[in-house]
Amino acid sequence: MDDLSALIPQPDQMQAALAELAECNALTAGWGLSLSPVQMRMLAECRRSALRDTGRVEFGGGVLKQLVRAFCASPYLDQENYADTLAQLQALFYHFKQESHDRIPDDELIAAMAQCFDGRAQGALDALAGLTPEELCVPDREARWEPAP
């Protein structure tokens, strides 16, 4: 009864994630971005893997909708790379949550990720991934970006 893994309602969580993603297409239509049903399922599965990989448990549908809201206006996002970029951003989000020991609220972390992605990382996910949570949250104007050797 008190086994955590037995409690997690996996089908319900999947449905919740898919429902949230379905709402996202309405948000992103203006930027020419949309997700197909296959891509939505892929993202929901990636969410499960990312949570597993970072040893986290999530309640509700996840943060994909918030990520979409924060990144849909990015000049570095287009229809071709949209789904894959979202998947990687989602994984990075959980990575940063774990690395920061949950000290950064979701909203702030996503905002910081979006600012860095569009700013000093110039759309490069590798550059974003190379930052520590502390570096991520330094305001862009103070950041001194140096490309990796």
Binding site: M1, D2, G55, F59, V63, D102, D107
Partner: protein, 294 residues
């Protein structure tokens, strides 16, 4: 996992119904814990929140919560609130018990005992019955005659520990502190600094003297008395030796005016001396029944 829901077997339907209700309750707890700032938690933290939840619901169940309704209809949110109210009550009870135990402590110095009592005092500030009700945020180093089961969670552990410590203090009080100090010094190089139980050597000698028909308050087991105890125990088969120890403890406690729960505790403790007595008989019971240090 300690603090789990009651051990009574749930039917598959009951288990499914409970499982379905636990997840949203856990989600709500997680939201309260993070201040709604995070949609996810580390698994370890979620597991701790779940443990706390289950322990609190168990407290509610044990107090008769949900007794009159099918489990599938049980309002677990209400149960959680009521369980937390019961835990608050237990905390107040534990605090009163702690103060009583502190004031009843015998005039014997022991660093571990003093530190443990101080640490339990800090427990009442640190204990988080909302999210970590199963935890025991303090250091309890002083060993009792009979340890509290480690599986006992949260404030229940503290209550059980203090209850037993109070009984041990009650046993020690009738004995002259100077005699007790000499007895402890006989059995241990540093009874103040070492992690030793103060009560057990006193109980052993007092039971031994009771079995010999002597005044237990003397606490002194001379070599002659030790010889008599050897003659007493040597012919006894194990079950009769254990019964004799229990009987000696019962008579001791009756003579000291200790109530039944304490008598039961010390009867169990005295009985547990038997393996040491059996092992020490070839050595004339040295190390079990002690002569007072000068």
């Amino acid at each position: 996992m300690s603090g789990g829901l009651p051990e009574r077997a749930f039917s598959p339907e009951e288990a499914a119904a409970l499982r379905q209700k636990l997840w949203p309750l856990l989600a709500r707890q997680a939201g309260l814990y993070t201040g709604c700032g995070s949609s996810s938690l580390p698994e370890d933290t979620a597991r701790e929140l779940l443990c706390s939840l289950c322990y609190t619901l168990k407290v509610w169940f044990q107090a008769g919560g949900a007794a009159s309704q099918p489990l599938a209809d049980a309002d677990l949110e209400a149960g959680l609130r009521q369980g937390q109210a019961i835990l608050e009550q237990k905390c107040r009870q534990a605090r009163r018990l702690w103060m009583a135990v502190r004031h009843s402590a015998p005039d014997l110095k022991n660093r571990a005992l003093a530190d443990t009592l101080d640490s339990i005092g800090a427990f009442f500030q640190r204990y988080d019955l909302r999210f970590f009700a199963h935890c025991i945020p303090c250091d309890i180093d002083y060993p009792l005659c009979r340890a509290v089961p480690e599986a006992l969670p949260g404030v229940d552990y503290i209550l059980a520990y203090l209850d037993r410590l109070g009984m041990e203090h009650a046993l020690l009080r009738p004995f002259a502190p100077s005699r007790v100090r000499r007895l402890l010094a006989a059995g241990c190089p540093d009874p103040v600094g070492l992690l030793v139980n103060l009560c057990e050597p006193v109980l052993a000698n007092a039971v031994g003297l009771t079995l010999l028909g002597e005044d237990p308050r003397e606490l002194e087991i001379t070599p002659q008395r030790r010889t008599r105890l050897c003659e007493y125990f040597e012919p006894l088969p194990p079950h009769r030796a254990r019964a004799a120890l229990r009987d000696g403890a019962a008579r001791l406690c009756a003579g000291l005016g200790l109530p039944t729960p304490a008598a039961d505790y010390f009867m169990d403790t005295a009985q547990a001396l038997h393996p040491r007595i059996e092992a020490a008989l070839p050595n004339r019971l040295n190390g079990v029944f002690l002569s007072l240090a000068p």
